[in-house]
């Protein structure tokens, strides 16, 4: 369950001016729901995702996830929260291009100091699930855009988090790959995950797996 209460988010630009990215957002996403945030560029979709992932803090208002007020979490707890509860598929994927597929995917596990077998188990689960076993040892920078996205999705799922956030997941994909991504969403939804997708790709509009479409306009919900 994700809840945003009266969220205002301002960004400082060049020290003096402020840009108001979100102007009083109230949003409730139930467990297992697939919600699409849509809206023009600059409307505030990415800002909402980043608040849910505790990657930034609201100027005012509260973000509550599974009963925890994560907008108030100290930095270390925010990291722990992301590690265990959030799988974020970034718009630019945010992979480390000079590492291999495998190394990128297990990156969230590195500080956890798990047994090697645990790591191998978790890795092979997501490699299979997102069909990239055959690229395991290739460097990420040598992969196609679609493959890179699957690596990003695999990394987001390595700890089997309850919440998946995806920012403009189809922006860099052709139609065939976009449809493939929607298949992946279906699979994740079938596993009971709560999913929030930020997009302005019409492909997502009116999809039967999407529970709700929420339109953002200049920082407010329409």
């Amino acid at each position: 369950m994700i809840e945003l209460k009266e969220i205002i988010k301002e960004y400082q630009v060049n020290g003096i001016d402020t840009v108001m990215a979100l102007r009083g957002i109230n949003l409730y996403v139930r467990s297992g729901e697939l919600v699409v945030l849509k809206g023009a560029s600059g409307s505030g979709k990415s800002t909402i995702l980043s608040l849910i992932a505790a990657l930034s803090k609201p100027t005012s208002g509260e973000v509550i996830v599974n009963g925890d007020r994560i907008s108030k979490l100290p930095d270390n707890f925010a990291s722990d929260f992301r590690r265990h509860s959030i799988g974020f598929v970034f718009q630019k994927y945010n992979l480390i291009p000079t590492l291999s597929v495998k190394e990128n995917i297990i990156l969230p596990l590195v500080p956890m100091n798990l047994e090697t077998r645990d790591i191998e188990d978790k890795l092979s689960r997501v490699l299979k699930m997102f069909h990239i076993e055959h690229k395991e040892n290739q460097l990420v920078k040598n992969l196609s855009g679609g493959e890179q996205q699957r690596v990003a999705i695999a990394r987001a799922n390595i700890n089997n988090p309850q919440i998946i956030l995806a920012d403009e997941p189809t922006a860099n994909l052709d139609e065939k790959l976009s449809l493939h991504f929607i298949d992946i969403l279906k699979e994740l939804k079938a596993e009971g995950k709560t999913i929030v997708v930020a997009t302005h790709d019409p492909l997502f509009f009116g999809l039967n797996i999407v529970d709700r479409e929420i339109e953002i306009y200049q920082g407010s919900i329409v």
Binding site: A53, S79, R83, V110, P111, N113
Partner: protein
């Protein structure tokens, strides 16, 4: 599990260094060179300080020379008896010695004359006298002298050229072992008679007189009494000599200081460069790690390992190279800066004086500073909102 060292983080740190292998290699190389330079300087300085201290310790308490027109002349041996009358004087010995310039090699030897039945003013001479055959012209020579003579095919004897141009043949009887190598390297010991002949010195004269004083506190008093008795003499005490030795050393170590400053400067430029900021790629990487659930301290731990691996490896490399350079290769080039004043440019062994303090000093000058320079900018990046870096 919590206490176990996280090998994955170490592995990540190593990978991260290898991913930028040229930069890592370059920094390690420069750091090693700096540690090498610094520690070589310290090692040589320590060794020579040790040698100088031993040399000064073995110096006579008072030396009396005759001075005329500001120059040093041979002194009358008769002075000896009067000096012995001064209260507080334990013993006094007339020394016969001088520098002999060996033209073929372009070096000076210090020739010291000894009497078989005289009390020796240095312990090392007691042994030397045993090696001398007083029934014929013979000598014992320092290791450096021996090498030079060998090189010039004087293996059994040496022909000294006297002031009148005639030759004086002296047999080589053995090797002279001094208390320190600096001291004994260029020394030749033979009978006073032979020395007088080589330098054309009268029987009634000596080069100088060394005086031993029973009570250390009376040295200054005795020295001023001698000066009063012989206004035409220069009376030098051990303390004076200590100062002039120290001056030579300080002058030489000025050069070292310059090198030292240069290497520190270079080091701080590297550190400054590192500390002044991360590339946007490095910032992004830290942002990504934060975004996928690394804590600030996870990031810092990883950076700590990176800094530690590079700086500790460089430290060890530098120290090992310096040890080999100074004590095995005998510090070519650098050593000459210091030992030039003995005028004998033969190799001379630096005594092995390794103190933990020096190693610790170099360690603290390099490793923690480098690690801090690695961690601090990463810490600044890691505590920013990850959101800012990865958008």
């Amino acid at each position: 599990m919590r206490n176990k060292i996280n090998l994955y983080v170490i592995e990540y740190a190593i990978n991260s260094l290898l991913r930028q292998k040229y930069k890592t290699f370059f920094v390690t190389f420069i750091l090693s060179i700096l540690v090498f330079l610094l520690s070589s300087l310290f090692f040589i300085t320590n060794s020579i300080k040790y040698e100088l201290k031993s040399t000064v310790d073995s110096l006579p308490e008072i030396t009396v020379q005759k001075i005329k027109a500001g120059r040093h002349y041979d002194i009358d041996i008769s002075v000896l008896d009067e000096i012995l009358q001064i209260t507080g004087v334990e013993s006094a010995v007339a020394r016969v010695w001088g520098y002999y310039y060996f033209e073929n090699a372009g070096v000076n030897f210090s020739i010291v004359g000894l009497d078989e039945y005289e009390e020796q003013y240095k312990n090392s001479f007691v042994e030397a006298v045993k090696g001398l055959d007083f029934s014929k012209p013979s000598m014992v020579v320092g290791e450096g002298v021996k090498k030079i003579m060998d090189k010039n095919y004087y293996r059994e004897y040496f022909n000294f050229i006297k002031p009148d141009g005639t030759l004086k043949r002296v047999d080589i009887g053995g090797l002279f072992k001094g208390e320190t190598e600096l001291e004994s390297n260029d020394v030749i010991v033979m009978s006073k008679e032979s020395v007088r002949e080589i330098f054309d010195m009268e029987e009634s004269k000596a080069t100088d007189i060394v005086v031993r004083v029973a009570n250390f506190n009376e040295v200054a008093k005795v020295a001023s009494k001698i000066k009063l008795l012989y206004p035409d003499s220069r009376v030098i005490t051990k303390d004076d000599l200590k100062i002039s030795y120290q001056n030579i050393f300080d002058y030489k170590s000025g050069l070292f200081l310059a090198l030292f400053v240069v290497s520190l400067f270079t080091f701080f430029i590297i550190v400054y460069d590192k500390a002044s900021g991360l590339s946007s790629e490095q910032k992004r990487e830290i942002g990504i790690l934060k975004a996928i659930g690394w804590r600030v301290n996870d990031v810092l731990r990883e950076k700590f390992y990176e800094g530690f691996i590079v700086s500790f490896f460089s430290y060890m490399m530098g120290i090992i190279l310096a040890l080999a350079f100074v004590y095995i290769l005998k510090a070519p080039l650098l050593q000459n800066i210091f030992t030039g004043y003995s005028q004998l440019k033969t190799s001379f062994n630096l005594p092995f004086v390794l103190d933990v303090q020096t190693l610790a000093l170099i360690f603290f000058l390099s490793v923690p500073i480098y690690i801090a320079a690695t961690i601090i900018p990463s810490w600044r990046s890691a505590t920013l909102e990850a959101d800012e870096v990865i958008r």
